[in-house]
Every structure is written in C-alpha cells, then in structure tokens.
Amino acid sequence: MSLINSIPEMVITTKLDEVLNWTRKSSVWYMLFGLACCAIELMQTGGPRADLERFGAAPRATPRQSDMMIIAGTLTLKMALRTKVLYDQMPDPKYVISMGSCSNCGGLFQLAYSVCDGVDKVIPVDVYVPGCPPRPEALTEGLLKLQEKMMQERWLVKGSSAQAAA
C-alpha cells in the first residue's frame, strides 16, 4: 500500500478514487447480524418496504464476504466477545452501523447487569442510528450516511486519511 499511497495528488488519481469509492459504496454487502428487536426491523429493511437491495446492499451470512456489520440489537456481555471475533473476521475495508439505542450506548438496558453498554466498547462504529428500534427508513438513512462517508475516503492519494487510520 505504501507504494500506491505515494502517488501524488492529481486529478486522475482523485477521479480514480471517486470511481473506486463509487464501486464500494454501490455494493455494500451487510452481514446478517441480528441480535434482538432491531433484527426484526433489519429483516423488514431487507424486505419489500424499504428494500436495501436498491442501493446494492445485499445480506451475506458470513463475515468474510461482508463489508458492513449492522449491529442490530442489544449486545450482551456474553455476546460481546463473539462480536469482536466476527468483526475481526471481516476483510478490510469494513464498516459498522450501530442500529438502535441498545447498541449505541446500552439504551434502556443500561440498568442491566448483563448488557454491554454500547457496541463502541468492543468495535469501532462508523454510523449511529437512533431509534428503538429504528424504522426501516431510518436504517436506510444510516446506510446513506455511511455511503457519504465512503465517498470521502481516499485510497490512492498520498496522505489519505482513511489509510492513515487503517
């Protein structure tokens, strides 16, 4: 990557970056990671009403083929360790959408003894979606936000923020 990143910023690389980002944003395969209540809304988001597939987002069953992980629901302490494993199994570049109050910060289960308050304690989160659970449109909006973020990233240009972070 170091070689590629040393290409100076030119119009062509910027354009190429845009094209590459466009392909990535147009094909966000998300992992079926339904934990709790939000999983039902996640299902409905993939279903006929919201139909995430319009944006090229298809569900995958295995982390190896996913670009995005939608943490849909309450993350318990028992599950938190597994979540980390699953996240590590995803190939880069990978993104995480935290869906709903429970995965944002524990939400209404902050009072609980067995719940991990917030998925950001275990894995980095890119987009937080509010709601309990967020309706399908709200999740779609989360995906659009993530696409915006993807389009900002730079892969070829020197000193890119995304690569520096990775």
Binding site: A36, E41, M43, Q44, P48, T76, M79, R82, A112, C132
Partner: protein, 384 residues
C-alpha cells in the same frame, strides 16, 4: 471456542467408524434468528445431539423490573418478546391489575384484544415467513414480511410504533382507536384473507416443503405437556388447549373462535408441518376475532385512573396470557412498595428450547433447521 461442559463420549457403531463432528451452530448463524447457539454433534449429516446454549440475549429484564417501577416497566415488556409485544404488554398489565385489584374499562379491553390479535397476525406472519426462509424459499418470506408491514402500519396508527408498542397501561390502554380505524382494519383483513389461500398455494402444500417438514421431529401429546410446550407447539400435537378459551381472560369468553389443532394431515401427528399449519390456521382465527371485536366494541373510556406510584398490597400474583408463542406466565411479587419485588416471566420459547435436545437426536442437520423454525423460538423470550 471452548466447549466447556459439552464433552461427550464419542459413541461408536459397529461397522465402519466415522468421525463425529462437533459443529458450532451460532450464536451468529443465519437460521437461529437472533442469538442462539447449538452445539451440534453430527455424524455426517445425521445428528446425535444438538445442545442449545442460550443466554446470548439475556438482558436481565426481570432484574430491571425491580428498579423501574410498575409503570416504567411497561416499555420493557415490549422487549421480552418483540415479535408479539402486545401480548407481553397485556400480560404485565393484567398481572399488575390483578395484584392491585384494578378494573379495566370495557372499551379498553376491546382495544387490547384488537391490538393483541393484530399483533398475533404480525407475529405468526413472521414466524411462518422465517420458517419458509429457513427451508430455503425466499419469496414466501418476503410476501409474509410485506403483509406484516401492513399490520405494522395499522399498529403504528394505533400506538405510534412499529415494533415496541408500549400500547397498554396498567388499567387500560394509552390511546383510543384513531378515527376511521375500523374501516382501515377491515380493508386490510379483506385483502389479507385471500392472501392466506395464496400463501398456501405457493408454499404450504408445495411438495418439497411438505416433504421437508412431514414426519420430522414429531412430539407426542404427553411429551409436549411434560416439557410444558405451549401455544401452537402444543396444539400441533393435536391437543386442543388455548388459554384464551380454556382459562378465559379479558373479553375472550364473548368471542367466537376456533382453536385449530394439528391433524397429522401429511405425516405424523405433531411433526413440524403440524406446528406450521396451526399457525397458518390461527391467522384466519385472529382475523375473525378482530372483525368481531370491531363489530362489538362499545363506546366509553379506555383507561382507568391508576395511582402514579402504584403500590399493590403485599403478596404475589400470577397470570397466564395466550401470547403468539403460547401460554405466557407472568408472576409478580409485591412487597408493598412502588417497585415490584420480583418479576418472573415464563415464556413459550423457553420451554420449546428445552425440548430441542430431545427432539434433535437422529434427525438430519437440515431437519434441525426446520425443527427450530417450527418451534418458533424467539431469542429474547428464551433469555429475557
């Protein structure tokens, strides 16, 4: 992955010895709908056991009830069984009303039953839909989800949320029916009922589907009772029992509805297909109940005045409601303060999960998927 506690002795058949595989199904597996884990011991495609390992969604709801008070616990009951939250709402409301001796206005009861039966339609649609999806048919699943969306829209009009309704209050319901609601619901039911027939044409009696489900993991009536299977799972065994009819509560005694049971029409009595088809038939019954309620609903208030800080007398109360996944037991112990001393929720999925180990012996891996789907297990109901 450690398999602490799951050490088995490898059994050997005479003849060719084959290697026994230990498969870790879940907690993140497409067909477990949420986070259930099965430690599967399989000999090729044939399973020896599938031990459920639960608790991945244990959210300590029972403990939370001790901290948030009687009114504040209502939203949490939505999360006990998010697929059919209405009946959980009702269970909590009923147990508190019983403990504190509160009476509910009659119109409130009707609102509750309309909401509950709509919730039951939504829940059963999801259940049969995911079941077909697990068997491999994506289209019927999306059709079920589509209809569920319509129910969700109706419930949204009623209580402003699609999934976690928080509709009921101790002493009634929080919102009266919106204007024109009866027409909306009737319009939905009119278009929904033919779709059940279409659904049956598309999938229920499809040969492949029937072959996948018939004769798989049959449960006898005695076994079902001993394991405390409830709801459609119990009725699938041919045992006609429904809390709504046999231990009536609310306004159910005034309503006329059938209790469908499994008949073993394509295989053994109590197999996966029976459990499935009972749910399909209950969809029709729920439609019937909703129509009756809409006809019979009286005018009047829907919510009784209840103290802001409800303090039921010292003692305990237990109620049973027929939730979508069957008889749901709500037990509350009061110490006279404004917080419940102890709450216990005994759910249908919990007992259904405990029978998986027994039923899974000797069936194939693909059958295990059908079995779990037909038991209609919802993870948070098991773990709470």
């Amino acid at each position: 992955m450690s398999l602490a506690g799951y050490e088995f002795e490898v059994q050997r058949d005479d003849g060719l010895a084959t290697e026994e595989m230990t498969l870790n199904m879940g907690p993140q597996h497409p067909s477990t709908h949420g986070v259930l884990r099965f430690v599967v011991k399989a000999d090729g495609e044939i399973m020896r056991t599938a031990l459920p390992d639960i608790g991945y969604l244990h959210r300590s709801i029972e403990k939370i009830s001790e901290k948030v008070g009687y009114h504040g616990f209502m939203p949490y009951t939505d999360r006990v069984d998010y697929v059919s939250a209405m009946q959980c709402n009702q269970g909590w409301a009923m147990v508190c009303e019983r403990a504190a001796g509160i009476e509910v206005p009659r119109r409130g009861e009707f609102c509750r039953i309309i909401a509950c039966e709509l919730g039951r339609i939504a829940s059963h649609l999801l259940s049969v839909g995911t079941m077909v999806m697990d068997i491999g048919g994506m289209t019927p699943f999306t059709h079920a989800i589509r209809e569920r969306e319509k129910v969700n829209n109706l419930l949204e009009d009623l209580c402003g949320a699609r999934l976690t309704f928080n509709y009921m209050r101790i002493g009634g319901v929080a919102w009266d029916l919106p204007p024109g609601y009866a027409e909306q619901v009737t319009a939905f039911l009119d278009q929904f009922e033919p779709l059940i027939a279409e659904y049956n044409d598309l999938i229920s009696y499809n040969k492949i589907y029937v072959e996948r489900l018939a004769n798989v993991a049959a449960v006898s009536k005695e076994e079902a009772i001993n394991y405390n299977l409830v709801g459609p799972n119990l009725r699938g065994c041919g045992f006609q029992y429904d809390v709504r009819r046999d231990e009536p509560y609310s306004i159910y005694p005034e309503l006329d509805f059938d209790v469908p049971v499994g008949t073993g029409e394509v295989g053994t009595l109590g197999d996966c297909f029976d459990r499935y088809i009972v749910r399909i038939k209950e969809l029709k019954e729920s439609c019937k109940i909703v129509r009756q309620c809409l006809d019979m609903i009286p005018d009047g208030p829907v919510l009784a005045r209840v103290a802001k800080k409800l303090k039921p007398p010292v003692g305990d109360a237990h109620v049973r409601v027929e939730a979508s996944r069957g008889d749901m037991g709500w037990y509350v112990v009061s110490d006279g303060s404004e917080f419940p001393y102890r709450t216990k929720i005994r759910t249908g999925s919990f007992s259904a999960m405990s029978i998986v180990d027994k039923l899974s012996r000797g069936i194939m891996i693909a059958d295990l998927i059908a079995l779990i789907a037909s038991l209609d297990v919802v993870a948070p109901e098991v773990d709470r």
